[in-house]
């Protein structure tokens, strides 16, 4: 027996994907496709230029390295190659994630406004669904469903890309298929999926603010959402300049403006993680791995943002309930 709440939530999210199929499904797929195409063009360029120059080498130094490495790898080099391959797999997800940041931004900004403007709100409101469920379904779509799609499409793109490189290298007699076994696709996928809860928590203040503006604005939600916090920051800076009031405002830009506007772009939580980086690829990767990135959960900054987000979403639900279309 399906529970009504989960059933409603399932259909509400499905509805969001119907409406925003272009943004949530086609955008990542097209971005991934363009990414692959650019890489393919890069490989072909390398091949052609290499042949014209008369070298029997593959493109770039990596191939040569790999040929050397493939014969006789010590443990550290194997780690480095594996980490390099993992980065190749991460890279499309990062690009797609960045693009999806824009999609999620404008989705949140329009989602409680557009149906008021075209009056289809009156149709949705004629169904026995609470405004809380409606708003929450949109939050889930923005913070869980969208990143999941990014991870799936990004990982698939990464795998195709790895295979593409492997194939190109194998034309040059480099036996890279076994090098590929040095990569850790499952770990990559696990890391990416494991980051989604962090994304949710970190993006929540932005999602909350944008949806609050979306539910509240009678017109031009973008202007309110962006111009209002920026204007406040500028006024604070102006007071500083005049010297009449010394308001320390760098925290405002960093902890307010960035959090409520740019949180939808993935990775922001690393600002709350100590010691990101490393002297080699393997160290760098492990420093952004889940075991490290979850240190962000220890930051007060993150939880203050979540608390503010809950308040803003409560506001969004209230406005959704009472905002008149007239």
């Amino acid at each position: 027996m399906k529970t009504p709440v989960l059933n409603d939530m399932y259909w509400l999210i499905k509805r969001e994907l119907w409406e925003h199929r272009g943004g949530f499904v086609w955008t990542p797929i097209i971005t991934g496709g363009v990414f692959l195409l650019l890489n393919l063009m890069g490989i072909i360029t390398g091949e052609v230029m290499g042949r014209n120059a008369g070298f029997n080498v593959s493109f770039g130094g990596a191939g040569n390295n790999m040929r050397l490495l493939s014969s006789n790898l010590d443990k550290q080099s194997m780690d480095a190659v594996g980490a390099g391959l993992d980065m190749v797999m991460y890279s499309p997800t990062m690009i797609i994630g960045l693009v999806m940041g824009f999609v999620v931004f404008f989705y949140c900004l329009g989602t409680l406004y557009d149906d008021r403007r075209d009056r289809s709100l009156l149709f949705w409101k004629s169904l026995p669904i609470s405004d809380t469920a409606t708003v929450l379904s949109k939050v889930v779509t923005a913070t869980i469903v969208a990143p999941l799609i990014v991870v799936v499409v990004g990982t698939l793109t990464g795998i195709v890309m790895l295979l593409m490189f492997a194939l190109a290298l194998s034309f040059h007699g480099v036996g890279v298929w076994h090098l590929l076994t040095l990569s850790h696709p499952l770990q990559v996928i696990g890391n990416l999926i494991g980051s989604i809860p962090l994304y949710l928590l970190w993006a929540l203040p932005s999602v909350g603010w944008l949806m609050l503006c979306s539910a509240w604005a009678r017109s031009k939600p973008f202007l309110w959402a962006v111009a209002l916090p920026v204007a406040v920051g500028i006024v604070m800076g102006w007071f500083n300049l005049l010297g009449t009031l010394t308001l320390q405002n760098s925290w405002y830009w960093r902890d307010v403006v960035v959090r409520i506007l740019l949180g939808v772009f993935p990775g922001g939580w690393f600002s709350e993680v100590p010691h990101v980086g490393g002297s080699n690829p393997a160290e760098l990767l492990s420093s952004v791995g889940l075991t490290h990135s979850y240190a962000a959960l220890g930051s007060v900054n993150l939880w203050v943002g979540v608390a503010a987000a809950v308040a803003m979403l409560a506001g969004a639900i209230w406005f959704r309930r009472w905002r008149d279309d007239s």
Binding site: K14, W18, R119, W322
Partner: protein, 285 residues
Amino acid sequence: MSAVITASGLTKRYKSALALDNASFQIEPGRIVGLIGPNGAGKTTALKAILGLTDFTGELSVLGYDPRKQRDKLMGEVCFIADVAVLPRWIKVRQAVDFVANVHPRFDRAKCEAFLARTKLQPEQRVRQMSKGMIVQLHLALVMAIDARLLILDEPTLGLDILYRKQFYQNLLEDYFDENKTIIVTTHQVEEVEHILTDLMFIRDGRIVLDADMDAVGERFIEVMVGADRAAAARALKPLDERQVFGKSIFLFDGADRAQLQALGETRRPSVSDLFVATMKGTYA
């Protein structure tokens, strides 16, 4: 059976104007009520209050619920078509049916599909590809498949051609309405709904100025056609309204003695639109 809607002292003030001014009324089950009023009289505001879409002061109970606090429960038993063409433009017929079927506990999918089969609508067709009349057909098919106790229609046929308008009300009467259901409809095309209404409510400046069932309206209001020679006598009886047709005068009386009027000329029951015009005289002046 208890009343479907009980309202008392309903008041709603927008920034400058009073949209509802202490309106009180009661609607019984199994009725088709026409809520008729000039533009800006407060019809839509009254419907919005009933649907819990707007805040107001006063007492209002709809199917035993308070629409301000129990809107989610209320919407399980109430349907509304608010104006034409409020279906989202991106949605496909199939998606709309799927969605309502899965979130509305009282939706009968087979019934909806039977209604749709009588139209030209295709499952993969999007609302943005439909004419206004087709959008209303889809909306009506969705709504008629819901076993709701109260159906609210706010200008449901505005901008439709006469074929769609006739068909709309015909479907509603033949396939939907029964003694357990109540329909409230607002429209400016009074002539088209006149014959299906059981009750009539006139609203003017936020106040209910007439609230009666159609039989009572027929009893209370009498039109009499009088020759020029007896016009003065008719005028002496204080008619509500007077107009001239082919050299004769037609007088509209409220609660006059029928026998007395019959002595003056031919009497008949006034049409709702004539009654409306007479009642609303001077609204825009």
